[in-house]
């Protein structure tokens, strides 16, 4: 109860410090001297938000049901790990976490930007504080995590069991760092536009924040995807569900920004485009929050359908976008007097091509996600847009994207003169065509577009491997990320084409044959666990070479709230995952059994990690260059 009060008042003090910093910064901006108090108050702000967050964690740990958030989302017999992760497994707590990351990032920016223009630093603080104040108000007015309940209930309602999972405990914090990082990029960009500071030097510094957001967003999306793979029991890892799309959109935009900032850094080109991308990334992150939180999209992320929350975020978002646009149009004067010659065969043009493709992919995802929402609001037709839409629109362009991605990084800045010497790149292309042809001969299915797509991704794969052996070692981060991406596409493709599955309803003691394997449902076992009842099915899978493996998929019947979840049993090797999951059908002795063989599944995760590690190496280089 004490923690509850401390948390609430820390939050209020946090808001006050925000306003104070805002006013002090405005004063400093006029006098052009940074008021030293800004640093100490920023630290205080971080401190109070942290206290507030920790108080909420304590409320969850001691199961203080006088706190409404705890009552709604926790339960005394939940394991301690999920009591803690339950803190951000709900709307109110997750916003508090968001606020914590916001203040943390601003503080880090303040202490890490000593060498930069003073007025630019102050303005960044101003814009960031506007966002922070907005979120403080949002938390305090519409979703206070410290609402008091009286009389105090004896027991809480419990956390949705599907969220009681290690991957989902770390998914929100990681993703938030990515989202919130984009807010700092947004503020810094606006400040730089006003100060006319969009320059090589600025690009160098802002790239650190772009990298941080990008790395965390990549890993955050990956963790969510891994969770969906083993917990939802659909046997896939990406469903083109709107809630997945809203995290993919900022990622695509951020990836474009990450490349475009290189051009700015090296050649001082594409200034306006960089600004637009920064604003767009932040807008998409906020849009994601709005769509997910407002209850417009229904998913595990929608904690409560409260329209006032959605409206608040929407208004706030519009306010920020309008400010951003006004600043962009008033202050952004392209004062580039010296005309820079651009050659077609150059790295900057290839990055422009990359950005074009990324923007196309972005608009496909954006329209696919928003169109159903608009249609429902405007003419009350309910529709949904599924995977065929995305596959049809993305796959053909992906082929060209991959080919450009193989060629582009090998070009020089300004002008590539040595085009004839790139002969080996053609040889590689033929090699990859042959490989993909062989693969298709072996499988026996012939689909032209898939064959070409496999060829294109093999091409990128071979070219990126070759790059590792080239003599310049300095750009290892780029090589690693590009290699990771080629592997990602390749493993997704092969996984998609070669996966096989069988779905059947079985009773205990029955068996069925799937290709060369026999699946025998041996027995069931009941166990009472800490906060759920577990029903384990024993399945014997035997192939024609008499290799026997035992699968133990589990059903968990949680007490509070009463929910049944399926835990798939997955046997992972480097070559394939075998996945077996069972579902109950209430009041029936049949179990719905799904058995899947998914080749190269683990490589999807490994390659995503490589992608992120590449980003991390680049970040490491940046930080130690200085």
């Amino acid at each position: 109860m004490l923690a509850n009060h401390i948390g609430h008042y820390s939050l209020v003090i946090g808001l006050l410090t925000s306003i104070l910093i805002f006013l002090l910064s405005l004063k400093s901006y006029k006098s052009q001297i940074i008021d030293k108090r800004i640093f100490s108050i920023s630290f205080l702000q971080l401190f109070f938000v942290l206290i507030s967050f920790l108080s909420l964690v304590i409320c969850f740990v001691i199961s203080d049901f006088s706190n409404e958030t705890v009552f709604n989302n926790s339960h005394t017999n939940k394991p301690i790990f999920y009591k803690i992760s339950g803190t951000w497994g709900n709307h109110e707590g997750s916003l508090l976490l968001w606020l914590l990351v916001l203040t943390l990032f601003l503080f880090l920016f303040l202490i890490n930007s000593k060498n930069e223009l003073k007025r630019y630093r102050i303005l960044t603080v101003v814009f960031q504080q506007v966002i922070i104040i907005g979120f403080f108000l949002f938390v305090l007015i519409t979703s206070n995590p410290f609402n008091y309940l009286f009389p105090i209930p004896m027991e809480g309602l419990g956390l949705n069991p599907i969220l009681q999972d290690p991957a989902l405990a770390i998914h929100p914090p990681i993703l938030y760092v990515g989202y919130v990082g984009s807010s700092l990029i947004f503020s810094a960009t606006l400040a730089a536009v006003i100060e006319n500071y969009i320059s090589k030097n600025w690009a160098k510094n802002i790239k650190i924040w772009i990298l941080i957001s990008w790395i965390f967003l990549t890993i955050g999306i990956m963790v969510g995807s891994i969770w969906a793979y083993y917990e939802l029991g659909w046997g896939g890892f990406w469903f083109w569900d709107p809630v997945e799309n809203v995290s993919l959109m900022p990622w695509i935009c951020l990836t474009a920004l990450l490349h475009c900032i290189l051009v700015l850094e090296k050649r001082e080109l594409l200034k306006s485009w960089t600004i637009i991308l920064s604003i767009a990334t932040f807008t998409l992150s906020m849009c994601g929050t709005f769509l997910v939180r407002s209850g417009i999209l229904n998913s595990v992320h929608t904690f409560a359908n409260d329209p006032s929350r959605g409206i608040f975020i929407l208004c706030f978002l519009f306010f920020l976008i309008i400010i951003a646009l006004i600043i962009f149009f008033i202050f952004n004067k392209d004062k580039q007097k010296d005309y820079k010659k651009i050659y077609f065969f150059s790295k900057e043009v290839s990055i422009l091509v990359n950005n074009w493709f990324l923007m196309y992919f972005l608009s496909v995802v954006l329209i696919g996600t928003l169109y159903p929402i608009f249609l429902e609001v405007l003419i009350d037709h309910k529709i949904s847009v599924g995977p065929p839409f995305y596959n049809k629109l993305i796959v053909p362009f992906l082929i060209f994207f991959l080919i450009f991605m193989s060629l582009g990084p090998n070009l020089k800045w300004i002008k590539e003169t040595n085009i004839k010497n790139k002969f080996q790149l053609f040889i590689f292309f033929f090699i990859s065509l042959i490989i993909s042809f062989i693969i298709y001969k072996k499988i026996g299915k012939t689909n032209l577009i898939n064959t070409v797509l496999i060829a294109a991704s093999f091409y990128l794969f071979i070219v990126t491997i070759k790059d590792f052996f080239s003599k310049e070692l300095y750009n290892i981060s780029k090589k690693l990320s590009h290699f990771g991406f080629s592997m990602l596409i390749l493993s997704i493709l092969l996984n998609g084409i070669l996966s096989t599955e069988a779905i059947i309803n079985l009773k205990v003691g029955e068996k069925f044959t799937f290709k060369n394997e026999q699946i025998f449902f041996k027995s069931l076992e009941n166990n009472q666990k800490e906060n759920y009842q577990s029903v384990v099915g024993y399945f014997k899978v035997e192939d024609d070479k008499k290799n026997i493996s035992l699968f133990k998929p589990e059903l968990r019947i949680y007490d509070q709230p009463v929910v049944i979840t399926s835990e798939a049993d997955i046997k992972t090797t480097f070559f394939r995952d075998r996945f077996l999951v069972m579902n109950t059908i209430k009041g029936n002795e049949y179990f719905n059994v799904r058995y899947q063989v998914k080749p190269f599944m683990i490589w999807i995760w490994i390659s995503t990690l490589l992608l992120a590690i590449g980003g991390f190496l680049s970040l490491y280089n940046r930080l130690y260059e200085k």
Binding site: N298, S363, K382, S384, L393, N505, V562, I585, Y590
Partner: protein, 138 residues
């Protein structure tokens, strides 16, 4: 200077053209690939049987589930009209009698849907808004 302007114009034209083309492409395939949501009553009132994939939402009628080894049959009702659904595939854990359901598939006739997917929902108390609306006040 002239060259600069020329380059800009070419670049802008290419940009506008590519935007127009991609938007057209996206809208064109949207037309083909969207899935409409209907209630059993909507289906009864259809003038022509929809041949595209659709979604049907409502409640699973009491005692209507029958299962054999490769198929599940049940009836979806909105308490005004109902429709038979047959399905072979994996079933979400929350699928049961008297609970909301969304089935995606192809209409065979006005009374029979061959489902290819039953949508999983995450929460016991949760009801798809489509279902809520289709059920009216119930």
């Amino acid at each position: 200077m002239v060259k600069k302007v020329k380059l800009r114009i070419v670049f802008l034209l290419a940009l506008v053209l590519s935007i127009v083309l991609s938007v057209l492409l996206i809208l064109k395939s949207l037309e083909k690939d969207v899935v409409f949501f209907l209630s059993p009553t909507d289906i009864k009132n259809l003038e022509e049987i929809e041949t595209k994939k659709i979604r049907v939402g409502g409640m699973v009628k009491k005692k209507s589930i029958s299962i054999n080894s490769d198929k599940i049959n049940f009836i979806v009702t909105d308490f005004k009209n109902e429709i038979n659904v047959s399905y072979s595939g994996s079933v979400p854990n929350l699928f049961s009698e008297n609970k909301g359901v969304v089935a995606e598939g192809f209409l065979q006739d006005r009374n029979y849907l061959k489902a290819v997917k039953i949508l999983a929902k995450h929460d016991e108390n949760y009801m798809p808004p489509e279902v809520k609306e289709a059920l009216g006040d119930k």
